[in-house]
Amino acid sequence: MLANARVLNLEKLTASDYLLLLEEPQFAVQASPGQFLHIRIKDSLAPFLRRPFSVAGAPPGKGVLQIIFRVVGKGTAVLSQAKRGTSLTCLGPLGKGFKPTPGLSPAVLLAGGMGVAPLLFLAHLLAKEQKKILLFYGVASITELLPLKRFLPPQVELHLATDDGTSGYRGPVTALLAEALQGGLKPGEMFACGPRPMLQAVAGQNRGWNFPLQVSLEERMACGLGACQGCAVKIRQGGESSYRMVCCDGPVFDGQEVIW
């Protein structure tokens, strides 16, 4: 559960997004889509806490995990300087991932920005189950577009939205999805990851649509293991609401059970 994962490669994908390849055969076998690693970025007091990152892929037989991350603060800035051949201590694979239901097809994936990372991994699982897969992917602008082709199984149907219209649909990806549904798309189930407002919007709309919807959430974490009770989100189940932990009860929750 704690491993020294070797940095095999670090590649810049966009102006601020990176692909990190970590060699850790056991984690690579264990990891399932939606799970994450809790990475100690540096053996130093700054950055202090570990940082959580979704597993974006674990190509079979390679013993390697893919992490795609965006530089947003001090920790990710330091991570973007990681040197090939060095090691990062990682806790993982942590959390409860996506649970696709056999037979429900097509699978609709909804990704906002970096939220696409765990969905890339999920797409491979769904592809193995021979499902039809649609990925609705929204970013702010063309410059933030990740080269998804490299990470997706070929059969995934990609629907692209940019806030500024520099590529694909102009507007929020949730609007693009809503249009597709109006146009006759009938998801068997939906999986979403991205900024909270996007998830909240789709969960809200889904109260009308009512498809099975799994969402992957983010919260500030300390332990990553369920011990500190820090990463709380409010969940309603069977009429009762209580705080659950993103790190061990999630990060994937039933979209209709989350209290936003």
Partner: protein, 306 residues
């Protein structure tokens, strides 16, 4: 064969197999860290702050990273006494771990009930009264900052409690020695210090306090100099055995607390950074004592005062 140091320490009525404990609220009920090492390695496991009734805790965000530390505002989320006794304690007992239960009440009566009920069940080696949790409106800071209130509360709990009684002090006070003496006069067997310093972070993007609870408790290496100072002071002010904590990450940090006067130490935040911190410190302490030719922790406890 080399002579190995004997790591056992005595704290008044309590004897620990080694002086390194896991601090309240940072080690859950032990299960979360079991995949890393057997909890019985711990000098003791102080389990999650327990209240009489279940508490749902504070709204998120509950955590914020700060320079060399973190803020938490968990708000004592816990299942309450009943579920603890029915579900968590049996699991804990099966693990042969030395369990100390950290309790918090919203009133003196709640503390007394908790102490009485927990004294009645086997498998607990001591109680730790948390009179200093800064994240709970009731049952928190008011008890912890008045000497008279502490003395009164501790003596009531003392009467209800057959177990060794640890009183945990808050650092958010003008004169911690005064409060230590109050706890002593109330009948505490052991003092533990420090709990978190009250702090806050403002989200400059929104202009609003970042934590759901507005303020939170600061822990980690940032507070270590304050915590060591308080242990040093309290050592001079009372005759009670002390448990020191606040920012311990490495064995040198633990040594600082012990030299300042702590007979045992507790590790909190560091567990989150390195889950193996406690066993690592136990081994390092062993190596240190051997290298110095000391036969036990006694040789270093309070050294800074000699």
């Amino acid at each position: 064969m080399v002579n190995m140091a004997d790591l056992r320490v005595r704290l008044g009525p309590l004897t620990l197999k080694n002086p390194v404990m896991a601090a309240a609220g940072t080690f859950g009920f032990g299960a979360e860290y079991a995949p890393f090492f057997a909890p019985e390695k711990l000098g003791a496991l102080v389990v999650n702050g327990l209240t009489l009734r279940p508490r749902e805790g504070n709204p998120p965000p509950r955590l914020a990273e700060t320079p060399a530390g973190m803020l938490n505002a968990i708000g004592l989320q816990n299942p309450g006494l009943k579920i603890f006794l029915e579900e968590e304690l049996p699991r804990l007992k099966s693990g042969r771990v030395a369990v100390i239960v950290n309790i918090a009440g919203e009133s003196e009566e709640e503390y007394v009930i908790l102490a009485r009920e927990l004294s009645a069940v086997p498998g607990i080696i001591a109680l730790e009264i948390n009179l200093s949790c800064p994240n709970v409106k009731q049952g928190g800071l008011q008890f912890g900052t008045s000497a008279a209130a502490i003395a009164k509360l501790v003596s009531k709990v003392r009467q209800a409690c057959a177990l060794p009684l640890i009183v945990k002090l808050t650092p958010n006070v003008t004169d911690i020695s005064e409060l230590a003496r109050a706890a002593e006069s109330g009948g505490a067997d052991i003092l533990s210090l420090v709990n978190t310093l009250m702090g806050m972070v403002i989200d400059v993007d929104t202009g609003r306090p970042f934590l759901g609870n507005i303020t939170g408790g600061l822990s980690g290496p940032a507070i270590r100099p304050v915590a060591v100072r308080m242990v040093y002071e309290v050592y001079r002010a009372t005759g009670l055995p002390l448990i020191g904590m606040g920012g311990i990450m490495e064995v040198d940090d633990a040594l600082q607390f012990m030299m300042a006067g702590a007979r045992a130490v507790a590790v909190g935040t560091a567990n989150f950074i390195d889950p193996y911190t406690v066993p690592r410190l136990i081994s390092a302490l062993d190596v240190y004592l051997d290298a110095k030719g000391f036969n036990g922790p006694e040789n270093i406890i309070g050294a800074a005062h000699r």
